[in-house]
C-alpha cells in the first residue's frame, strides 16, 4: 500500500502563468496564505470548542491503548471520551464484532429499525479553491456548469417525482458564482418540492445562515476534511477554504443562525484517521453541550478517485477501519445520526445500515444537471462533471426495496416545519 496519494495533476489547458502559480503553491509553502488568518469578510465568533477539540486530539496517542482499555470501555454502560479513544485505537480491532453488536443495540434503542433516505443535488461546480484531492478544484480540467432557476426546478421535479422527500443542495465553493442569494433561491424552490432541505455549501456568516434558514433550509453540513492543521495546509492551497478555523466554526455559526441541525465529517484518508475521527466526534460532543436543542449527524467519507486522477484512494482506511470508526461513533454518541454516502459499495452500505448508519443516499449524482438522464435515460445536453466517482449507484426505488429486504424500514421524511 502506498503511504501517500499523488494529488498533483497538470492540465494541458492551463496557461504558462497559471501553471507556474499552481506549481509555486504546490512546492513553496511560503507563498501560501496563513491558514489561521481570516479573510476580512469572515465573521469571527467567540467559542472555546475549537481549543477543547484540538487539545484532546493533540494529546491522543492511539498506540498507547491496549486490549484491557478496550475491554473496560466495552464494559462501561456509558462510553467516556477515554473509552472512545480506546475504541478508536488499533487495540480495538479484535473487538470489532462485539463493538458492532453493541452498536446495533444502541442504534435500535435510539432509531429503531429505520433508515432514512435522501438524495444530494449539485447545482453548480464552479470553485475558487485549490483542494488537491477534489474533482471540483479550480485547476482541474472539468466541464463547469451552474444551473439556472428553471434548471434547478426541473432537476428537483425529476427527483421529487421519484418519491424523495429530503434534498441536500450542494455547490462548489465560489461565492461570486454561487452567491448566498443564488443558494437561497434554490432553497425556496426546494421547499416547494421537498419536506426537508439541507445544505452542503461553503461556510458562511451567521446572517447568511439566518437568511438561508428563512429561505427554507434547516440543516447544514460542513466537512472539515482534516483536523490536522499542518496536513490541511498542504492540501488546501488556495481560496477561502484554506482558512481552517473559519471552516471549523461553520456549524456553530449555522446554529447561531437558527438552523435545526448540523453535520460533520473528516475526509478519511487525508491524515491520521484515528485522530481525525476523535476530533470529529469531539467537535459534535462539545457543540452538543452548548446547543442541546440541535440535531447532530456524522458522515464518514473516504477518499475516492476523481476525473483526471483515478489513483486517489483512502490509503490505510479499509472497510474494517471504517466500520470500527462508525461503531465507535455510535457507542460514544448514540443519539447522533450517521450518514453513509454512495462513496461506499452497496454491500458495505447494506451491512452498515444494520449496525449503525441511520441515513443513506440513493439515486445519487455528483455531477450537475444530469438527474433526468440518470433517472430516465433521457439525454441532457448540458451537464457538469462530477466531484468524485460514486460507488453505489442504486436508484431510490432499488434502495428502498433493498433496505426493506434487509429488514429495515426506509423513511423518507422525519421532520416537520412548523
Amino acid at each position: 500500500m502506498e503511504k501517500e496519494n499523488h494529488f498533483f495533476i497538470d492540465s494541458d489547458k492551463l496557461s504558462a502563468k497559471a501553471l507556474e502559480k499552481k506549481h509555486r503553491l504546490e512546492n513553496d509553502p511560503s507563498c501560501r496564505k496563513d491558514p489561521m488568518e481570516y479573510f476580512p469578510d469572515m465573521e469571527q465568533i467567540k467559542s472555546d470548542v475549537r481549543e477543547r477539540v484540538m487539545a484532546a486530539m493533540h494529546a491522543y496517542e492511539p498506540e498507547q491503548y491496549t486490549a484491557i482499555d478496550v475491554r473496560r470501555a466495552l464494559d462501561h454502560e456509558r462510553v467516556t471520551i477515554e473509552d472512545f479513544q480506546a475504541l478508536l485505537s488499533p487495540a480495538a480491532k479484535p473487538f470489532l464484532e462485539e463493538m458492532a453488536e453493541r452498536a446495533q443495540r444502541e442504534t435500535s434503542r435510539h432509531f429503531g429499525n429505520t433508515v432514512y433516505l435522501f438524495t444530494p443535488l449539485y447545482i453548480a461546480n464552479y470553485c475558487e479553491n485549490y483542494c488537491v484531492y477534489c474533482g471540483f478544484n479550480c485547476y482541474n480540467d472539468i466541464q463547469r456548469l451552474q444551473l439556472s432557476h428553471d434548471e434547478i426546478a426541473h432537476e428537483m421535479k425529476v427527483i421529487a417525482d421519484s418519491g424523495m422527500e429530503e434534498i441536500l443542495i450542494l455547490t462548489g465553493e465560489n461565492k461570486v458564482k454561487s452567491s448566498v442569494e443564488y443558494i437561497g433561491d434554490a432553497c425556496k424552490l426546494a421547499h416547494q418540492y421537498f419536506k426537508n432541505v439541507g445544505l452542503e455549501v461553503y461556510p458562511m456568516n451567521v446572517a447568511d445562515y439566518k437568511y438561508l434558514h428563512d429561505c427554507g433550509a434547516d440543516y447544514v453540513t460542513v466537512f472539515q476534511e482534516t483536523y490536522d492543521l499542518k496536513k490541511y495546509e498542504t492540501l488546501h492551497l488556495l481560496g477561502h477554504k484554506r482558512v481552517w478555523p473559519y471552516r471549523f466554526e461553520a456549524q456553530e455559526r449555522a446554529l447561531m443562525g437558527g438552523m435545526r441541525g448540523v453535520g460533520f465529517s473528516a475526509l478519511l484518508g487525508l491524515s491520521d484517521f484515528r485522530r481525525d475521527a476523535l476530533a470529529t466526534a469531539l467537535h459534535v460532543y462539545y457543540l452538543q453541550r452548548k446547543y442541546p436543542q440541535a440535531e447532530f449527524s456524522l458522515s464518514c467519507p473516504r477518499l475516492r478517485p476523481i476525473i483526471n486522477n483515478e489513483k486517489i484512494n483512502p490509503l490505510d482506511v479499509g472497510e474494517h477501519e471504517l466500520c470500527q470508526i462508525l461503531c465507535a461513533y455510535r457507542l460514544f454518541l448514540p443519539y447522533v445520526g450517521i450518514t453513509v454516502s454512495s462513496r461506499e459499495s452497496a454491500t458495505f452500505r447494506n451491512g452498515i445500515a444494520k449496525i449503525c448508519a441511520t441515513k443513506i443516499s440513493a439515486g445519487v449524482s455528483t455531477g450537475i444537471g444530469d438527474h433526468e438522464e440518470k433517472y430516465t435515460g433521457k439525454h441532457e445536453e448540458k451537464t457538469g462533471d462530477e466531484q468524485f466517482e460514486i460507488c453505489d449507484t442504486r436508484s431510490i426505488r432499488s434502495m428502498y426495496g433493498d433496505m426493506e429486504g434487509e429488514g429495515l424500514q426506509p423513511v423518507l421524511n422525519d421532520y416537520l416545519y412548523v
Binding site: G163, V411, N413, V418
Partner: protein, 259 residues
C-alpha cells in the same frame, strides 16, 4: 366477571378497556399488528412528523380501523411548535387526542415541563384531549391537570432505555395525589416492570421499545397484556402485607400492656 368489565380507563370522555398504549418510537407494521392483536392496544401513538409524508410509508395507513390515534408532537422544541403540530394533526384527520412532547435536548429527549404546561393550557382550551408527557414532578402534574390535561404521563426512565421504574417514588406520589389518570410512559422495558407500575396504581402503560426490540414480537406483546392485567388486578385487590424480616412475631411486642 361483570366487575372486570366495568374497570375501564376514561380519557377525556372516551372509554377504553385496554390499559396498554403503543408508543411511537419505533414503527413497523408488524409492531402495530402485534400491539393491537396480541397486546390488545386500543390507542396507538403516531408522530405527526412521520405521518406528514407523501406516499410510501405513511404510518397513518398502518393504523387499523377502530383504534384511537394518539398523535404526538415529537420534534417540537417550544410550546408554540407543539401547538402548531397539534393543529396539523387535526387537519390531517388524526382526531382530537394529542400527546404533548416538547424536548429541548436531542441527546436524552427529556421533556420540558414548563413549556408542556403552556401547550396543555392552549390545546385543552381548543377542545383537544391533552395527554402531556412529563418528568414526574408533583407541582407540574397539578398545573397540568389545572390546565386541562386529561391524564398525566410521567416518564419511568429515559425514553428507549428499557430501564424500568427509575422514578418509582415520584410516580407513586403522582398516583397518590393526582385525581387524573397517571399513564406511565417511557422506560418500561419488561412486562414485570409494567406489572409493577400497574400494581402501584398507574392507569395505563405506554411502551414501544420493549416490544420493538423483543425477540418474538407477538409473544412479548401478549406478555405485556397479561402483565398489565395482572398488575391492575393486584392494585384493585389491594396488596397484602410484606414481612420485612423473618416471620411475624407470635408474641406481640406490646403484649405486656395491661389496660
Amino acid at each position: 366477571m361483570k366487575e372486570q368489565q366495568e374497570d375501564v380507563l376514561e380519557l377525556g370522555g372516551h372509554t377504553f378497556h385496554s390499559r396498554f398504549i403503543l408508543g411511537s418510537g419505533k414503527y413497523s407494521l408488524a409492531l402495530i399488528e402485534a400491539a393491537v392483536r396480541d397486546a390488545g392496544a386500543e390507542i396507538v401513538t403516531c408522530a405527526v412528523r412521520r405521518a406528514n409524508t407523501k406516499e410510501h410509508e405513511n404510518i397513518l395507513d398502518y393504523i387499523p380501523k377502530g383504534v384511537t390515534l394518539l398523535p404526538n408532537t415529537s420534534g417540537a422544541r417550544t410550546a408554540d411548535e407543539a401547538v402548531r403540530i397539534a393543529h396539523l394533526a387535526r387537519e390531517l384527520g388524526c382526531g382530537d387526542f394529542v400527546k404533548i412532547e416538547i424536548m429541548r435536548d436531542t441527546k436524552y429527549l427529556l421533556p420540558d415541563n414548563e413549556a408542556t404546561i403552556r401547550a396543555t393550557e392552549t390545546l385543552a382550551k381548543e377542545g383537544f384531549v391533552v395527554l402531556p408527557y412529563m418528568y414526574p414532578d408533583l407541582n407540574v402534574a397539578r398545573d397540568l391537570v389545572n390546565a386541562g390535561a386529561a391524564a398525566v404521563m410521567p416518564l419511568a426512565a429515559p425514553i428507549g432505555s428499557n430501564k424500568g421504574l427509575v422514578t418509582k417514588e415520584f410516580i407513586q406520589i403522582l398516583i397518590d395525589e393526582i385525581d387524573a389518570p397517571i399513564i406511565v410512559d417511557a422506560g418500561i422495558g419488561s412486562p414485570a416492570q409494567a406489572c409493577e407500575a400497574m400494581q402501584m396504581g398507574a392507569a395505563a402503560i405506554m411502551a414501544n421499545t420493549a416490544l420493538a426490540t423483543a425477540g418474538d414480537l407477538p409473544l412479548m406483546a401478549s406478555a405485556f397484556k397479561d402483565a398489565i392485567a395482572a398488575g391492575r388486578k393486584a392494585y384493585r385487590a389491594g396488596l397484602g402485607r410484606v414481612l420485612t424480616r423473618g416471620a411475624a412475631a407470635s408474641d406481640p411486642l406490646t403484649g405486656f400492656l395491661r389496660d
